[in-house]
Symmetry: C2
Subunit: 483 residues, 2 copies
Amino acid sequence: MAESIKRPGLDYIFHPGSTAVVGAIPDSLSRFKLGNQFVRILLDHGYKDPLYAVGSGEGEVCGLKLYQSIGDIPGKVDYVITAIPNQFVPKLVEDCGKKGVKVMHLFVSGFGEIEDKAGLELQSEILRNARKYGIRIIGPNCMGIYCPESNLAFGMGFSKVSGRVGYLAQSGGQCILGIKEANRRGIDFSKVVSYGNASDINECDLIEYFTEDPGTDIITAYIEGTNHGPRLLRALKEAVARKPVIVFKCADTGGGSQAAVSHTSAIAGSSLTWDALLRQAGAIRVYSVQEMFDVVTVLQRCPEVTGLRTLVVGHGGGSCVQASDDCCRAGLSMPMLPPVLRQALMKVYRTDAGNIFKNPLDINPYWGMDKAREALSAVAGWQGIDLILLHSTPEQDPFVPRDFQYKIHTETLIEWARLSPKPVVLAMTTNTAPGDDGLPEKSFNQMQKEGFAVFPSVGRASTALFRVYNYYQRSRRGTRISA
Amino acid sequence: MAESIKRPGLDYIFHPGSTAVVGAIPDSLSRFKLGNQFVRILLDHGYKDPLYAVGSGEGEVCGLKLYQSIGDIPGKVDYVITAIPNQFVPKLVEDCGKKGVKVMHLFVSGFGEIEDKAGLELQSEILRNARKYGIRIIGPNCMGIYCPESNLAFGMGFSKVSGRVGYLAQSGGQCILGIKEANRRGIDFSKVVSYGNASDINECDLIEYFTEDPGTDIITAYIEGTNHGPRLLRALKEAVARKPVIVFKCADTGGGSQAAVSHTSAIAGSSLTWDALLRQAGAIRVYSVQEMFDVVTVLQRCPEVTGLRTLVVGHGGGSCVQASDDCCRAGLSMPMLPPVLRQALMKVYRTDAGNIFKNPLDINPYWGMDKAREALSAVAGWQGIDLILLHSTPEQDPFVPRDFQYKIHTETLIEWARLSPKPVVLAMTTNTAPGDDGLPEKSFNQMQKEGFAVFPSVGRASTALFRVYNYYQRSRRGTRISA
């Protein structure tokens, strides 16, 4: 990115000039110590700036010299990843302060989130000292920063490609699951922060940052609770005015709140309060990371959704009935195909026996790709619709081998999708335990690589479309979100 | 099955002494003609009674002589599978009548479900003639009968094992999808009927049959509409008094109803009417075939569900928070773990940092199987709960290779499940496109082979438990459903 673009205040935490990982031991003793693993992940991810390993014992970590303390490192250190027991953290903060460290990520747990009062006191002490030295704290009890642009990462196999989605997550696990979910669906990130207990850098800071960040087009968030209600509402409102914000607010029930307070010390707040807050802010609320990236998929892979009138096209009577139900139940509407278009379809197939030419359309892909193409061409331009939803359930076919089912259905959906002048989504439904031959995943990936918005069910596709439509209605923004 | 067990009236349709498939051509011309495929499927499925192929041309079909007409067959014919264009069906009915055929399955479409009035008239004519000869009609516009006991089948790869679940489905595709969904989840069928337009044998006949059938413990149904409201209500009530009935009523919305009338000529009826009908009958309502067999899974693989107080056990803070939300949202409750049990867990792990010991329990499977086992043993006998829900999200772990993640999580869930003296369900959550290495499916199958009730999400598991609990409450039956 050109230096001339104005970067928001917190930007430096994503671009440290040098990084130290504290909590390693010589690889000769164990390569599985957490500190060693953080070092290995950074190197695997192509981290290019000076990187140091700190810990006890003499030796090397992934070919790097192991330093005994932060103070021993010859060069300057901007960013410190901390993977040591919590009682040693206060001393480390002192050392980091003297060394001029700017940001510390605290992986360790056992602070504000446990019931022992000492944990909360320890967290306060760390924070006090960090403030004295001007050090910003990420965590404790979290995974830290993933930023492809600066080669920072905290998990194996994360995409090395920079994208346009910002993600903040109070949970490390949900953060990792979200990254993997997104990456598999062709979605890349500008920056991701797993921020845990939010003792210093919190959800408000990060939303404000992503709002200003020119590298971020869409903000996604997993939040368990907040201590900053009014500021969060303000931050969300300002963010939504600039870009879509998708929030997976968890800890929404009695059981969830019990869990959250032990997980990240979050005060979950009542479900009603959060619902009101997210509605007032105009954020898109979802209920899983899968749903979160369903919404991103529509935002990135479809033109603006300007209406809900949907043409539903697929194969199989029962499958079409269910698709129509799932589509309507999610809030989309299905106007009846006008007689002139039904006649056009009758011309292609000579009969409507075994087909449905209304809305939905039931078109048999085994009757030839030419006819399938001709049929969709005849109706795709219809002015009465805003959206086209293509669906298939390959395993409903009785006479066809499994691999051929998937091949034909995948090719047909792709051909149809190419013909659509409207926003189009593709849904392929499979069984619960779809067999370990990987065929459904291969089909999914094949459709996705063509650039289409692909979903594992009509319900998920429709719900994502409905949410995105409402977002556009609220924000009255007409710009297409770039991938 | 011993001959002494009384079999209900319609039983003979599932045990024809001989079968003919009409609509074949010599294999030398094409093996893909539908009639040929029906013959091949029956032979593959081990059909043992006399089997005849009927069609035009001279030659063989799968080694069987091809007869020109039903009348040419030397022996008697009980059951006829019909795969010829609809205009030839009236003549065939005459031939069958003269031959003494008892049941005809009409695969073909183009009758009551198309808009051409001639289709409906054709259907009426066929029915009139069939009645004259005492022939029962299945369909038209359907797949017919699958009955492992008599080796009847209509799709490739169906299980050859007889089970205790009866399934009637108005849609052929949903029927096949349901059979595959069930088979992959270790569920086998007593009898399955895809009944299409229901011109003669209809949903009421089949529910009444399954109610009386000693081979059927659980009735499942995919229904788009009915022309027999009062009789259906009565049949469902009588069925529910004897065994659980699970209904996937489709064509529930405007779009769905538009589709259904073209699919099976079903008058869908209003969603409210159906909701009331199914409630009054005490049937379990579901919204997909996947959900249908979720419910069967709980019925077959868990002891009676006598309450909803649930202990939720898994790994990962965010994952536990979401699991708790999903569990509570589905209607289960999560009482707080009493202090004495929390102390017992503290003894096992020394600290609650990085764990949650409340309800949910967050227990790290990487800290050793012995500890994991000890921890669950300490709480599994707790009198304050009725259910145990075990969940995992393997891909949330940052430092562990994917295959090792799945291995550890799967082994841990199995070990924990073995320790449970209560009804226990297992939920493993994966990404939307979970990679084409088949690891999630392998884990799913491994847990399932141990006999446990396995689900792809906490929400699905919880919803199935809630539905089954309500069924037991209504029916006050205490008997365990055998697999």
